[in-house]
Amino acid sequence: MSGRSRLVLGLVSGGALLLAALVVCPLVGPVPVDFARAFDFSLPAVENQDREIFFRLRLPRVLLAAIVGGSLAVAGATFQALLRNSLAEPFTLGIAGGASFGAVVAIHLGLAAGVLGVPAVPLAAFLGAVLSVAIVWFLARSGRRVPTVTLLLAGVTVNVFFSAAILLVNYLADLSQVHRMIHWMMGGIDTVGFDKVVRTLPFAAVGTAILWIQARSFNVLSLGEETARSLGVEVERTKLVAFGAASLVTGAAISASGPIGFVGLIVPHGVRLVLGPDHRVLVPVSALAGGAFLAVCDTVARTVLGSGELPVGVLTGLLGGPFFVWLLKTRSREL
């Protein structure tokens, strides 16, 4: 199959999966929703409970899950290509540590008011993500180049540092704050109304577009940086642009939902198994498939316990751990 037909197949089937998830998931939950009544706009909103649940609670939540899932999957595919390591994921370079640090500081300081309508905690998480990425990039720089190995090491170091800083803030905080911090760090799609959706979507859309444009270079980069350079790729510029775009996409996702692990690992690998490794196919299809994947996972997470909700980050973690081991054991030749 040619690359173009694989792209079409991937976009059509990924799009169908996402659409199905977006239609079905909002109907699932402890309170049954009547689809027809939810779309009956003749009743006043306050009297139409189906409409309230569908449009204010479930649909935004499913959309946010889809945006976050798509973002993490695209970022994961990018980091795997950039770091030349198929076990990389969006959080490999310390971005989750930085974002979590920002969030716990905001919770501890009791910051409530945000800027331009963005509440303090997600804003602080986003700034923490950007800060950690900038630190990693500058730590890893060596002359004009940013070698992959030092990038990985800098990422690990920054992650360890922020973990310690988070523990310090935890220690200083009171119990109710600690509870909020831990809940945030579990990673969950928690939203009422469309604010978070509107805030996250531009990052996801623009970031994915930028990364899709770079996708041809990602293919060549997998032959090694020197070969890529000899094939006409501006390697350092490509790395900077892709690293920046993937980090912003991840930062926006994480600020809306907390760190949700393994989506960025599972989804690109799944897509690669079905459609092959060509990034011109992998990047856009991962966005769609990641969206469908997290929308379904979150629906499972909010219903599986019967009463109360499981943070979806816990569920993806439980799924992702064994998947990671399976990858390591069966596909190590490609790692």
Partner: protein, 265 residues
């Protein structure tokens, strides 16, 4: 007089301060040449190749491609004139042989575009030339070192270059693949391609190259046809090892390390 196909002028390069690998090296290789660069480990052979290919920048001096400073040529344009075959290639993810070869069309494509029929035809032609067309659908991972090198050579040809640079292309290959690679290079050279090979294998260099450049301590110390250049004193001084030099039936030199006392029969 036409410009050399590739040229380095007074190039200095170092990976660490005050440890220059190349120390004012100059070399000029004319279009259509088949040149071999030899020299001991650490002499700077691979570094020289990277500088000639424009993937590493000299600290001072310049590398020229058909008379133009390669650092001023847009990378994609340079990649249409010059291809580099590294010592070994690993791919991340299981790209098929056909996909790897098509990546040679990168400098011709635009942004997200997929390769067209013409690109696929060029890739197929290159695969046939190096005898890997039958592997097209297989994963690059699954191939042996020799097969991979033939695939990478096909990828380089897909760039449609005028100059081909190879770094130890046969260093870990068996006899059959060594002969195969050099046979293909000789054919390509006859049809006009400028070929530069960095190699440790003096006998293969003597057999196939028309010109040999000896590199030591970051400079070219001797240049000449294999029969003139590969003489016992020069090879001994170059590598710091005792050698015997014979001639084959066609008068081309054969270099062997001399067996010491108690060594060999």
């Amino acid at each position: 007089m036409s410009a050399p196909a590739i040229e380095a002028r007074d190039v200095r390069f170092s990976y660490a301060p005050e440890a220059d690998v190349l120390r004012g090296l100059s070399i000029a290789i004319a279009p259509g040449e088949f040149a071999g660069v030899i020299g001991p480990n650490g002499a700077g052979k691979s570094t020289l190749l990277k500088i000639l290919a424009g993937v590493a920048r000299p600290l001072s001096g310049e590398a020229l491609l058909f008379g133009k400073d390669i650092s001023r040529i847009p990378r994609r344009e340079a990649a249409r004139a010059l291809a580099l075959v590294p010592q070994s290639t690993e791919t991340l993810f299981s790209f098929s042989v056909g996909e790897v070869v098509l990546m040679g069309r990168h400098p011709y494509g635009s942004l997200m575009a997929f390769e067209g029929a013409e690109d696929r035809e060029i890739a197929l032609e290159a695969m046939e030339r190096t005898g890997v067309a039958r592997f097209e659908k297989r994963s690059f991972h699954e191939l042996s070192g020799g097969e991979r090198q033939l695939v990478v050579l096909a990828r380089a040809l897909t760039q449609r270059p005028s100059v081909l640079l190879l770094d130890e292309p046969t260093s870990s290959l068996d006899l059959r693949h060594q002969a195969e690679i050099y046979r293909i290079l000789t054919d390509l050279n006859r049809s006009g391609l400028t070929v530069v090979v960095v190699t440790h294998d003096l006998n293969l260099a003597a057999r196939y190259c028309r010109r040999i450049d000896a590199l030591a301590e970051g400079r070219i110390v001797a240049t000449g046809a294999p029969a003139e250049l590969l003489r016992e004193p020069l090879v001994r001084d170059l590598y710091g090892a005792e050698v015997d030099v014979f001639a084959d039936a066609a008068g081309r030199p054969i270099v062997l390390p001399r067996a010491g006392d108690g060594g060999g029969a």
